[in-house]
């Protein structure tokens, strides 16, 4: 039977998920292999070296660089406190005395007799790495971190902003094609993962931030609203470090696009349960998509589907068209002709025919569809 490979986002009700939780530099791993962890448990920590503050003591005291050492009250390796005098001159008249105070608490890192530069380093900052998902530690990488394994529902979005967060799943709409409006967001949604429908506008997102919602999961957003929230245009899709007070996961794309019914149903089935959400997206080599992880399997074992999908399309499959002129429309694959076909733009490409709800059949480049889970 004819089939075509297609990209698709994962939406699996019963998945085995592994997460590597690694420090950026060596540190201490706090949990051992086999331990059960909750999402907020600290699994590893390290001291991030403090910021470096260069000060040109020679210039500040009006001396030559090779004289600096003689004017220093604190030398490399010495501890210092913010406001403490670290160097001073010794004039005959004390009114002309210049004392240089440390702008930071930490240590003197280095001193140069060539440049007259003294480098101060702030006290290290502790980086505590959370487990992020509830699960079991299945591997430990000494000095760096652990691998946590969890069983549960795993859903990928297409684009997100904001970092990792956790909370209880709450519903704010009654169907996947309903727009999430500001009045849908209530005080009781504080700290929750809020499921919207086809779209959230700027007023809705602002209201969610104001209320203290941890994350919004929604079908689409407008790019102009994204720009307003961030204050700048996102140039390349490398996100996850934005600090806007909320994490947003977009499941379908930019515009008003109903959330895929399958995704919506998976989320509805887990209402009231705890979820881990990350908006981090990276669309380059080593693609990373935003995600929603809900530990544990759905109560209704009938909805438990463990396979990831076959990764290709066959006639009868449900697909979403992901490019104009039929962007967002869902239909059923009718046929997959093998020969190259000239489309309206005159490009010769491989196509498929899609049957729409009303029975109309349209021709679409295979690159412009993605499979929709049933």
């Amino acid at each position: 039977m004819a089939h075509a490979y297609t990209p698709g986002l994962k939406a699996i009700s019963c998945a085995r998920i592994t997460k590597n939780r690694l420090l950026p530099i060596p540190g201490k791993v706090l949990v051992e292999k086999g331990k059960e962890v909750s999402a907020l448990d600290i699994v590893a920590e390290t001291d991030l070296p403090g910021k470096v503050y260069p000060m040109n003591i020679a210039n500040r005291l009006g001396i030559t660089p090779d004289e600096v050492k003689g004017f220093m009250l604190k030398l490399p390796g010495d501890k210092i406190k913010k406001g403490e005098v670290i160097a001073e001159n010794k004039p005959f008249i004390k009114w002309f005395k210049t004392a240089i105070e440390s702008p930071v608490t930490g240590t003197v890192d280095a001193m140069s007799e060539i440049t007259g530069q003294v480098l101060l380093r702030a006290t290290p900052k502790v980086l505590a790495l959370k487990a992020y998902v509830k699960g079991k530690v299945i591997d430990v990488q000494p000095d760096f971190g652990v691998t946590v394994e969890s069983e549960g529902t795993f859903i990928q979005g297409i684009f997100g902003i904001g970092g990792e967060t956790n909370g209880e799943i709450a519903l704010a709409v009654e169907s996947p094609d309903e727009e999430l409006l500001p009045e849908d967001i209530k005080p009781e949604h504080k700290g929750k993962i809020l499921i919207g429908g086809q779209h959230a506008g700027i007023a809705t997102i602002k209201k969610a931030i104001e209320v203290g919602v941890n994350a919004i999961i929604v079908g689409g957003i407008h790019d102009k609203d994204l720009r307003k929230i961030l204050g700048y245009d996102i140039g390349v899709a490398v996100t996850g470090t934005e600090k806007i007070g909320i994490t947003i996961v977009v499941t379908e794309g930019f515009g008003m696009i109903p959330m895929a019914e399958y995704t919506y149903k998976l989320l509805v089935a887990r209402k009231g349960e705890q979820a881990s959400v990350s908006g981090a997206t990276q669309i380059r080599a080593g693609v990373m998509r935003p995600e929603i992880i809900i530990p544990g399997y759905p109560k209704d074992s009938n909805v438990c589907k463990k396979e990831e999908g076959r990764g290709w399309i066959e006639p009868g499959d449900i697909v979403r068209i992901i490019r104009e002129p039929h962007f967002g429309i869902i239909g059923k694959v009718h046929s997959l002709p093998s020969e190259l076909t000239k489309v309206l733009s005159e490009s010769k490409v491989r196509v498929l025919t899609v049957e729409l709800a009303g029975g109309e059949k349209i021709v679409v480049p295979r690159a412009n569809v993605e499979i929709v889970e049933k």
Partner: protein, 596 residues
């Protein structure tokens, strides 16, 4: 290292997503590219071995050509009848290519020289650190800490000059203690190519914690730039340190007959060979999904820049952010809602493999492409400059010109050839589209030939040129370059419809064309072969021989032919909305750009 005993050559380019193999065979006295194959690159999990993709691509060549090239996982060398090849060469940009941070004492002087040095070696420059780069010292240290380059190039000061600034930069680098991008287990390589008097201090500072390599100063004096010794060191380190960390590369290095080159360095090498062989000034561009590389050779000086975030899919939103929506909209011959356009471009960014199905959708991509090409060219012009800070001796006549040091080397009137590659230029449904995109983005002046590298073969040929010039140039002329035509654009401005040039074209076949070019119009003369052009611009218009001076020259035709561009230089689109749309439609029709 010229090797003339080559009859069969296999070459690969390991890109981020695809590994492309080509087979070159000697037919009589000439080398021709005969078969090609491609396979997904296998640097990332689950394979983590680049040679798997290489072998898959070569297997495809084997199947298509019927020539047995592989014995298990080995390439059969030398050739014997219908078996094996005489040499195997490869380039690589897989795993993100070569990423560098460079530092120089003064941004516009050693900072720029360091940037040119690294870019010419095929690197992506992540940041340029300089004593006067406008950032506070602590900000510089923070920035170095965040970057994870493959290597650092530290320069600064002329030989024998002051050492303070460059030592200070060394101190900042030491304090930041940056880590290498690939593998935490090896020391980050740092090339010192600054003031030779500061070498001991730099060794004391950085010798213990980093893999320090000393090279000749890239700016031994203000008047002299010496980039090649440091560039060679960059290539050595790329092979010895960086490539050794990338999955499967030690195996690949054992397979090749000549050192692996970073892909852009190979394209640069081929651009230079072509320019030198024809005594041309050349501009070459490769516009990809994420980045746009620009190469130029003007008066034998080679420059390369890479615009890391200007591209047609992953970076399409960044083109919008940098160019501004208005600049994209100005190329569209129809109205489109701003919100709709924004959403469309973002949807392409998040689903980068989709393709335009309608003419309208294609025109939106072409509008973005013009802006990406234009912006990357602006960045190139800013770096392809003469040395700054140089004392110039001026005669009386120079004094009237008031030219400053550090002027761009790019002179569009003396540009002979433009070569475009990358999907949007090489695979547009009509070649007239590729030609128009390059004409609009670069606005060539006078007479300029335009071609595309249809299957992006320049990397393979660039690395091959290191061992056999003739093979590389033969294939370049006969199989790589697809000549699309010549743009004839008189420089000057006039009122709409004013007569600006009389012209006459005689094709080699004897067929004649002649007419008058009016301001604001485009005339396309389709022709495949070459022709003799005689053009007589009116006063105020220049084709390279001075205002109002007649020109007579042999010109290349191609898949598009000769295009007489009477839109003037500098070319400005009409400000009036309906006039702009009318003009765009008129030009697109004259070029036969889109289906009616």
């Amino acid at each position: 290292m010229e090797n003339n005993n080559l009859n069969v050559i296999i070459a690969t380019d390991c890109g981020s997503t695809t590994t492309k193999a080509i087979l070159i065979e000697k037919k009589g006295d000439t080398y021709r590219q005969t078969f090609r194959g491609e396979a997904p690159t296998t640097v990332e999990a689950p394979f983590e071995d680049v040679t798997k993709g290489v072998l898959n691509a070569i297997t495809e060549v084997e199947e298509l050509s019927g020539r047995k090239l592989l014995d298990g996982e080995k390439i059969i060398i030398p050739s014997n009848g219908n078996t094996g090849a005489d040499t195997y060469v490869s380039t690589s940009s897989a795993g993100g290519g070569l990423q560098m941070m460079v530092a120089g004492a003064v941004k516009a002087m050693t900072g720029e020289s360091a940037q040119r040095c690294a870019l010419g070696a095929g690197a992506i420059v992540m940041d340029v650190l300089a004593s006067n780069d406008g950032r506070a010292d602590y900000e510089k240290i923070e920035r170095i800490r965040q970057l994870r380059p493959d290597m650092i190039l530290l320069s600064g000061g002329t030989d024998g000059g002051t050492i303070t600034h460059v030592v200070e930069l060394g101190q900042f680098i030491k304090a930041a203690d940056p880590k290498p991008r690939l593998g935490a287990s090896y020391k980050l390589p740092i090339i010192y190519a600054g003031n030779n008097k500061a070498r001991d201090q730099i060794k004391d500072l950085l010798g213990d914690n980093m893999a320090l390599i000393i090279s000749d100063n890239i700016r031994p004096s203000l008047e002299h730039e010496n980039l090649m010794p440091a560039r060679h060191k960059i290539h050595d380190i790329f092979l010895e340190h960086v490539m050794q960390q990338a999955p499967g590369y030690p195996k690949l290095m054992a397979m090749v007959s000549a050192p692996i080159m970073p892909t852009p360095a190979a394209v640069g090498a081929m651009t230079q060979k072509f320019a030198k062989a024809n005594n041309y000034n050349v501009l070459a561009v490769d516009i990809g999904g994420a980045t746009t590389d620009v190469f130029s050779v003007f008066s034998e000086i080679f420059n390369r820049t890479v615009s890391a975030n200007l591209g047609m899919s992953y970076s399409i939103s960044n083109v919008m952010a940098e160019a501004g929506l208005a600049n994209i909209l100005r190329w569209l011959p129809f109205d489109i809602d701003e919100q709709d356009l924004r959403n469309r471009l973002k949807n392409k960014m998040i689903r980068p493999t989709t393709i335009p199905q309608t003419v309208e959708s294609l025109q939106v991509e072409h509008a973005v492409a013009r802006e990406a090409l234009r912006l990357a060219f602006e960045q190139h012009k800013a770096l392809a400059v003469g040395l700054k800070g140089v004392q110039q001796e001026r005669s009386i006549s120079d004094a009237f010109e008031q030219s400053e040091s550090g002027q761009t080397l790019i002179n569009l009137m003396s540009l002979n050839y433009i070569i475009g590659s990358g999907g949007i230029l090489a695979h547009s449904p009509r070649r007239t589209q590729s030609m128009m995109l390059m004409m609009d983005a670069y606005q060539p002046e006078g007479i300029t030939s335009i071609a595309v590298d249809s299957i992006f073969m320049m990397p393979h040929l660039g690395v091959l040129s290191q061992i056999n010039d003739k093979a590389a140039l033969d294939v370049f002329y006969k199989d790589c370059l697809v000549r699309i035509g010549t743009c004839v654009a008189p420089k000057g401005l006039a009122r709409e419809n004013e007569n600006i040039m009389e012209w006459n074209v005689v094709e080699d076949s004897g067929k004649k064309h002649s007419g008058i070019l009016r301001f604001g119009e485009i005339i396309r003369i389709p022709m495949e072969g070459n022709a003799k052009l005689t053009a007589n611009p009116v006063r105020g218009f220049d084709l390279g021989e001075g205002s109002g001076n007649k020109i007579s020259r042999k010109v290349e035709g191609g898949t598009v032919g000769i295009v007489l561009d009477g839109r003037g230089r500098p070319f400005n689109l009409p400000k009036n909305h309906s006039k702009r749309i009318e003009s765009l439609n008129k030009w697109y029709k004259a070029m036969d750009m889109y289906p009616a």
